[in-house]
Point group: C2
Chain length 775, copies 2
C-alpha cells in the first residue's frame, strides 16, 4: 500500500511547482488532474513524501450536447437490445471468470503451502528442527520475494487489498493503473505467493480486486494499454456502465472469497458502492450466483481427488451447521464482552495501523529495493515466529474419545502432533503450523472445548496482533479480512475459556463471534458481515446473537474513529465524497466558496484556436463553461451555452477541425468528422504543434458543449449543493448568479468534488466549524 | 383494496367540477392536492367510478428559509444528541412493539382457528358432516363479518396489504388515513379475524403495514387525530425522519411475518424503499434484530405450554435444516421447469388479478353493504370449498414406518385422519382442513414423497388459484404472500411428482422452490425472497438452486408485465416516480413541458393579504414562487426570492400576522411569532374569514420562503430533470429561463411529481413515444 498511497496522495507544497512545469511541458495537459491551483482543492492529509497524484474524476452525467443527442435519437432497437444483452453477458462473464480464477488461486495456494507444510512436518518428526526451519523460512522467503518483486516491478498498485480504490472508483474517483491487465496478473500470482508464504494476509481482499479488474477489462473490451480491443463494445465505453460492471466484479470477488453469494451482494451494497439501484442488486446477484456454481463444480471435482493436496481445503472455510445453538441467559455477559472488545480492539487497530503505514511509507519512499527488503523482513519475522513459537507449548494428551483424528501429522487437520510423542498433540502448532485457512478452521472447531490452553491462545492472539499490524503495508497483494478473523477468533475463544464453566454456547462459536465482532469493529460493516459469517458457518441459528454482537461492536467502534477503509482512503488522499454533508455546511453558501477560488476560465461559443491551446496548456481543469454572447442586443448580454469537456477539446485540436471564419457550424459538418463513440473514448496523447495560421483560426464549440449542465444559485448552502452533487453523481456543478443581467457574468464559479470536501472547505474557512462547535 | 383504490384513484373528468367546488368551498384549500388543473397532471388509469384523491406529496428538501436557518444555527449539542438518541429509541420501540403485536396476532389466530378446527374434527369424527359444515362456515362467516365490518366502518384503507401504499409513501406520496390509529387497530383485529376465518390470505402483508403504522405513530409522537401527543418529539416531525422510521417499521413487519431479520431489511431495500442510505441499513437491522429477540422470547414462553393451542405453530413456518440437499444433474430439468412456470404463472396472475379488482371495485362502489356482502360471499365460497373438497379424496393407508404421526386428528399436524378409518388418512384434508400456515407446513414436509396424490395436489392447486384471485380484493386486511406460497408450493410438488422416479431432491423442497419461484414471478423480488426463504427453511444449502430458480422466474415475469405492486400502484393512481427516466424523455425539454401547463402563480415578497387569500382559494398548489422586484432600478427587474409553501401561508393567515404597510420585517419580529417547530407541523383547518381592513394589509413572505429551491434551465431534457427530481427527492422543481433579464419572467414553470410521470407527458405529447418507436 505504501507505494500506491504515496503516489496517489497529493501534496500542497509541490503543487505550485507542478503548475509551472505544466506550462513548460505541453504533455502535462494529457493528465487531467482533479487538483486545482487555489487553496480549496488541496488534500489535507498528504502522505509523507507524497507526489502529485493523477486522480481523475468520473463522468456520470448525461451529456446533452447536440452530437450525443443526435446519436441517442438514432439508436435502433437492435442496438438497444444488443446493449442490454451485452450487459448481461458481461455480468455472466464476470461471474464465470472470477469463479474460475478464484478456484485456480485456491488450488495453487493449497498445493504449494500443503507441500511446504508436509515437508516441514517430516523434518520435525525426524527432529531435524533447524533443517526444518531453514526449509520453512527459505520457501517462505522465495515465495514472498516472487510476490513482492512482481508487485514492485510490474504493478505497484497491486499492493494492498484494493478495496479502498474500488470504493473510490465507485464514488467517482478514478485512480490510474488500478484495473489493468498487469494489476490483474500481479494480483493473481502475487496473492498466491504471499498467502502460500504463510504471511498474515488473506486472498479475500485481492479476490475482490481481481473481480473488479476482470469487470473493468471486460467493460473496456480489452486492455487500453496493449491495444487488445473488441469493437463490438462501443456502446459500453462510458463511465456509468463500467461502474455497474465493477460493482458486479467486486460482489463476485467477495462471493468467491467466502463462498457467500448474498454476502457478496451486500458487501458491495454496504461497503463498496456509492450509488445503488435495484437493477444492480439483481445483476450482482446473477454474477455471484454464477461464482457459486463454478465453485461448487470445482469442489465436486476436487472431492473426487483430482486436485492434488487441495481436497476440500481452501473453499469450505468452516461449517457448523450440525451444531445446535441453544440460547441461555448465562451467555449474555460473555457475548456482550465479545462485542465490546470487538469494538474497542477494532478502534485501537484503526488507530495503530495508520501509524505503521506512515512509517512504512517512509521506508517505501527509498526505492524499489527498500520495498522488497521490507517485505522480506516481515516474511523472516513471520517465519521465525510461526516456526519457533510452538516449541514453547507443552504437549497435550489426546482425548481418548476423539479417536483417530488426534493427533494428526498431515498438512491440514486439527490436533497437530508436531514435536510431541504419539497420543499427544501441540495445541500451538495446530494454530501456527498451518495455512491461515486451516488455522481459522482449527480455532473455529466445535465440540473441542479444551483443545487449546489459555497460554497458547494468548500467544496466538499476541503474535497475530503484531503480524496483523506489520504485514498489511508491505508490497504484496494483501487482504485485511483474514488477519482480522484470526485475531478476532483468538480473543473470542479466550473469552469462552475465561467463562468456560458458565457458558452454554460452544467455544468454537465464540471464536466465530469474536471474528465477526472484530470485523465490525474494524470495517464497520454489519449486515454484510453477518451474512458472510452465516453463509460461512452455514448455521442460521447463530443469527440473533451475531446481530447483537455486531451492533455492539460497530457502535463502540463508530464512537472511536471511522472505518479502516475510510482511514486508508483519507491517507491516500482520494477525494471520497461522503453521503451526508457536515452540519456546518449549511452555514456557508456556494457563492462564498466560489469567491475564494480562482475566477472561472470560460470559452466563447466560437473560440480562437490560440485561446483554446492556451487554456489547455495553462490549466488542468476538466470542464470549461462555454459562454454565448448576444451580439445583436445593445448590451451584448452573455449567457451560458453549456460546458465543454477537456477531452473533447483535445479531440477537436488533434483532428484540427478548425474554421476560417467566426461562424456557427451545421450539425452534419460536425457529424462527418466526429462520431459520438469516438468522443466518449479517452483522448490519446499528441503534440500540440500548430502553425501561426492554424492558431488564428476558429473552433465552433456549440455542438460539443453539454448544453444542460446542472446549476445552483450562488445563495444555496454548500450542504444543499453537496446533496445535489453527490446524489446525481456530478463532476462539475456550475454556480450561477442570483440575478443575471447585462454586465453580470453569467457564471460565478464551478464546483468540483474537491471543493465540496469538508477538510478543503475548512482549510479556507477555519471559523465555520468553530462556530458550529461553539453552540 | 377496492374501496381504497377507488378513493385514491383520480379521474380527469371529475376534476374540473372539483375545481369549481374548490372556489365555493373554502375548506377545500385545506386538502393540498397533487392534482393540477392542466392536462399534464391527469392520472391515466383512473379506476371505474373513482373519485378525486387527496394524495399529497412529501417534502424531503432542505428548507433554507431564514427562519429554519436561524433555528438550525441555534441548535445546541444537547439538542442534537437528544435527536440522535430519540432516533435510536424510536427504532428500538418500532422493533419491540412490532414483535409484541406480531406475537399477539399469532397467538390469537392460532387459538381461534385451532379451537374451530378441533370442533370441526370432532363433528367429522362423529360423522355429523352437515353439522360440521354449518359450524365451520358459521364461525368463518362470523369472523369474516367482524373483520369486514371493522374495515368498512372504521378504516377502509386498512383493506388489502398496504404494501403498495407504503412503497408510495417512501417514494414521496402520502395517501391519507394510511398510518393512523384506527388503521392500526383495524389491521390488527381485522387480520386476526380474516386469517382465523380460513380465507386465502395471510397476515404477512398486514404485519408490514402494522410495522409502518407503529413507526408513523411513534414518529408523530402519537395520533394527530386524537390529540395524543408528546411534545418531546418536536425535532422529529419532518417528512425525512418519518420516512426513515417507516422504512424501519416495514422491515420489522416483514421480519415479524417470516421470522426473517435479514430478509426484512432486504425486503425494504429491494421492494419498498426508494431512497436508501447505509445508515438506514444499520438502523433497520437494529429494529429487525429486536423483533427476532421478542419472537424468540415468545416462542420460548409458548414452548413451556402457556399459549393455549398455539404451541410453536404460527411462527416457525417450516424448518428443513436437517434435510441434506444433494445436487444432481437429474434435478436440473425439473428445477428449470419450476422456475419457468413460476415466471409464467406469475405473469398470468398479474394479468388476471387487476381484472378481478376492477370488477370488485364496481361492486364496492355500490356502498358499504355491497362491500360487506362481497366479503361474506367469498367467505361462503371458501368455506364450502375447503369443507367439502376433501370428501372427493379417497382414504390413503398410513405408511407403517411413520408410526404415531399418521394419522392425526388434532388441529395441526400432517396426515389428517378426517373421515377415514383408523390407519388411514385423507391427503386433501391434510391441506384444506388446516390453517393456511399448517397447510404450508404440510405441503413443505420433507421425507414424505408419497403423502399427496397427484389428483389431490391438482385440486389443491386449482382451488387456491381461484381463491387467490378472488380473495385479495375484498374489504379485509389481506396479504399476498401466503396465497402465492400456497399456489407455488402446490405446483412445485406437482412437478416433483411428475418427475418422481428421476429426481434426487426431496419433493418438499420442490414445494419450497415452487413457492419462491411464484413469489419472484408475481412480486419480482430476488435477493429478499431468496433470503426470506432461506431464513424460513433454515437451510443454506438450498441457496444455489434457489437463486437459479428465482433468476429464471423473474426474467420470464419481467418479460411479460410489471410486478404486482407496480400494477396496484398504477391502478390506485398513485404517482409513483420510477428510478429511471424513459428513453424518449431525452427528446423533450422541461421548457416544452412548462408551456403546456398553466402559467405559474407567483407571489411578491411583500404581498397583499387579499391576494394570498385569493391564490389559496383558487388553486391547490403546494408551493408558490416568491418574486422579488428591484424597484430601485429603472427596469424593475424581477428575480426569484424563493419558494413559499402553502402550509406556511395558511399558518401566517391563521395567526393574522399582517403588516400595515408594504415593508420588509426584521428576523426577530418573525421569530417572536413563529417557531420553526410549529411551522414544520401540518396546518389545522380554520375559517378564512377576514375583514376588509385585514384583506388590505400586507404579509412579508421573505423570512418564510425557501431561498434556494433547486432549479433547472428550460433547455434541460425531461430525463435529466427527472434524475435530479428523483435523486434529490424533490417536491417542486423550478424551471428558470435560459436567459434572465428585464421584461423576462424569472420563472418559466414549476415541475411536480405528476409532470414527470411518463403517462402524463405522453398524454400531452403523444408523438414523442411514437417517434421513439419509429427508430
Amino acid at each position: 500500500m505504501g507505494e500506491s498511497s504515496s503516489r496517489q496522495a497529493m501534496d500542497v507544497k509541490e503543487e505550485r511547482e507542478e503548475d509551472i512545469r505544466d506550462i513548460e511541458n505541453p504533455d502535462a495537459m494529457h493528465q487531467p488532474l482533479l487538483r486545482r491551483r487555489n487553496q480549496l482543492s488541496a488534500s489535507h492529509l498528504a502522505m509523507v513524501g507524497a507526489q502529485v497524484s493523477h486522480i481523475e474524476s468520473l463522468d456520470y452525467e448525461i451529456n446533452e450536447s447536440d452530437l450525443f443527442k443526435h446519436d441517442w435519437r438514432n439508436r435502433t432497437t437492435t442496438e438497444v437490445l444488443q446493449y442490454v444483452t451485452l450487459k448481461w453477458a458481461m455480468a455472466f462473464l464476470v461471474g464465470l471468470l472470477t469463479g474460475v480464477i478464484a478456484s485456480g488461486i485456491n488450488l495453487a495456494i493449497e498445493n504449494i503451502a500443503g507441500f511446504k507444510m508436509l515437508t516441514v512436518v517430516n523434518f520435525v518428526r525426524e527432529e531435524r528442527y533447524w533443517a526444518g526451519f531453514w526449509y520453512f523460512s527459505g520457501v517462505n522467503l522465495a515465495l514472498t520475494a516472487i510476490a513482492a518483486t512482481l508487485c514492485v516491478l510490474f504493478a505497484p498498485t497491486a499492493a494492498g487489498p484494493g478495496i479502498p480504490e474500488i470504493k473510490a472508483y465507485l464514488n467517482g474517483v478514478d485512480t490510474p493503473d488500478m484495473f489493468g491487465v498487469n494489476v490483474l496478473l500481479v494480483k493473481i500470482f502475487g496473492s498466491i505467493g504471499a498467502v502460500a508464504a504463510g504471511l498474515d494476509l488473506g486472498k479475500e481482499g485481492p479476490l475482490v480486486h481481481i473481480g473488479a479488474c476482470i469487470a473493468s477489462l471486460l467493460s473496456q473490451g480489452g486492455s487500453d494499454k496493449y491495444r487488445l480491443k473488441w469493437k463490438g463494445l462501443k456502446y459500453f465505453k462510458n463511465d456509468r456502465d463500467r461502474r455497474d460492471l465493477i460493482t458486479c466484479g467486486a460482489s463476485a470477488g467477495v462471493c468467491a472469497a467466502f463462498r457467500s453469494p448474498i454476502g457478496g451482494v451486500l458487501f458491495s451494497l454496504e461497503e463498496v458502492a456509492t450509488w445503488w439501484r435495484n437493477a444492480l442488486l439483481w445483476r450482482t446477484f446473477f454474477s455471484t450466483a454464477l461464482v457459486v456454481v463454478v465453485l461448487r463444480g470445482f469442489i465436486e471435482l476436487c472431492n473426487s481427488g483430482k486436485c492434488g493436496l487441495f481436497g476440500k481445503g481452501g473453499l469450505i472455510l468452516f461449517d457448523v451447521s450440525d451444531v445446535m445453538v441453544t440460547y441461555h441467559i448465562n451467555d449474555l455477559l460473555p457475548v456482550t464482552i465479545v462485542g465490546v472488545l470487538g469494538g474497542l480492539l477494532g478502534g485501537i487497530y484503526n488507530i495503530l495501523l495508520p501509524k505503521v503505514l506512515r512509517v512504512y511509507s517512509l521506508i517505501n519512499e527509498k526505492g524499489r529495493l527498500a520495498k522488497l527488503l521490507l517485505s522480506l523482513g516481515v516474511c523472516v519475522f513471520t517465519s521465525v515466529a510461526l516456526y519457533f513459537l510452538p516449541f514453547l507449548a507443552t504437549c497435550q494428551p489426546c482425548d481418548e474419545s476423539l479417536g483417530a483424528i488426534c493427533p494428526t501429522t498431515g498438512r491440514s487437520g486439527n490436533f497437530k502432533q508436531f514435536n510431541c510423542p504419539n497420543g499427544y498433540y501441540n495445541d500451538l502448532a495446530t494454530l501456527l503450523h498451518a495455512t491461515n485457512d486451516d488455522a481459522v478452521r482449527n480455532i473455529f472447531s466445535t465440540s473441542t472445548p479444551n483443545e487449546f490452553r489459555t497460554a497458547s491462545l494468548l500467544i496466538f492472539f499476541a503474535i497475530y496482533c503484531i503480524l496483523g499490524l506489520f504485514t498489511f503495508g508491505i508490497a504484496v497483494p494483501s487482504g485485511l479480512f483474514l488477519p482480522i478473523i484470526l485475531m478476532g477468533s483468538a480473543y473470542g475463544r479466550l473469552i469462552a475459556k475465561a467463562f468456560s464453566s458458565y457458558i452454554r454456547i460452544d467455544p468454537g462459536l465464540y471464536a466465530v463471534l469474536g471474528a465477526a465482532a472484530l470485523m465490525a469493529g474494524v470495517m464497520r460493516m454489519t449486515v454484510s458481515v453477518c451474512i458472510i459469517f452465516l453463509e460461512l458457518t452455514n448455521n442460521l441459528l447463530l443469527l440473533p446473537i451475531m446481530m447483537f454482537v455486531l451492533l455492539i461492536a460497530k457502535s463502540i467502534g463508530d464512537a472511536l474513529n471511522p472505518s479502516i477503509y475510510e482511514i486508508i482512503l483519507d491517507m491516500k488522499g482520494l477525494p471520497f465524497l461522503e453521503a451526508n454533508p457536515e452540519p456546518w455546511m449549511r452555514n456557508i453558501t456556494v457563492g462564498e466558496l466560489a469567491v475564494v477560488k480562482e475566477s472561472v476560465i470560460s470559452l466563447k461559443v466560437v473560440e480562437k484556436v490560440s485561446r483554446i491551446v492556451e487554456v489547455l496548456r495553462h490549466t488542468s481543469h476538466n470542464g470549461f463553461p462555454v459562454i454565448d454572447q448576444d451580439y445583436d442586443s445593445v448590451n451584448g448580454v452573455k449567457k451560458i451555452h453549456g460546458l465543454v469537456l477537456r477531452s473533447h477539446l483535445i479531440k477537436i485540436l488533434s483532428k484540427k477541425w478548425f474554421l476560417k471564419e467566426r461562424r456557427r457550424t451545421e450539425e452534419w459538418e460536425v457529424r462527418e468528422r466526429f462520431s459520438p463513440v469516438e468522443l466518449a473514448e479517452k483522448p490519446v496523447q499528441f503534440e500540440m504543434d500548430f502553425t501561426e495560421k492554424e492558431l488564428d483560426m476558429y473552433v465552433d464549440l456549440h455542438p460539443f458543449a453539454n448544453t444542460t449542465p446542472y446549476t445552483v444559485v450562488e445563495t444555496m448552502s454548500v450542504a444543499k449543493a453537496m446533496v445535489l452533487f453527490r446524489q446525481v453523481a456530478l463532476r462539475h456543478l456550475l454556480i450561477v448568479p442570483k440575478y443575471q443581467g447585462p454586465e453580470i457574468e453569467p457564471i460565478v464559479g464551478i464546483l468540483t468534488r474537491q471543493d465540496l470536501r469538508a477538510h478543503n472547505i475548512l482549510s479556507v474557512f477555519p471559523d465555520i466549524a468553530k462556530k458550529d462547535h461553539r453552540n
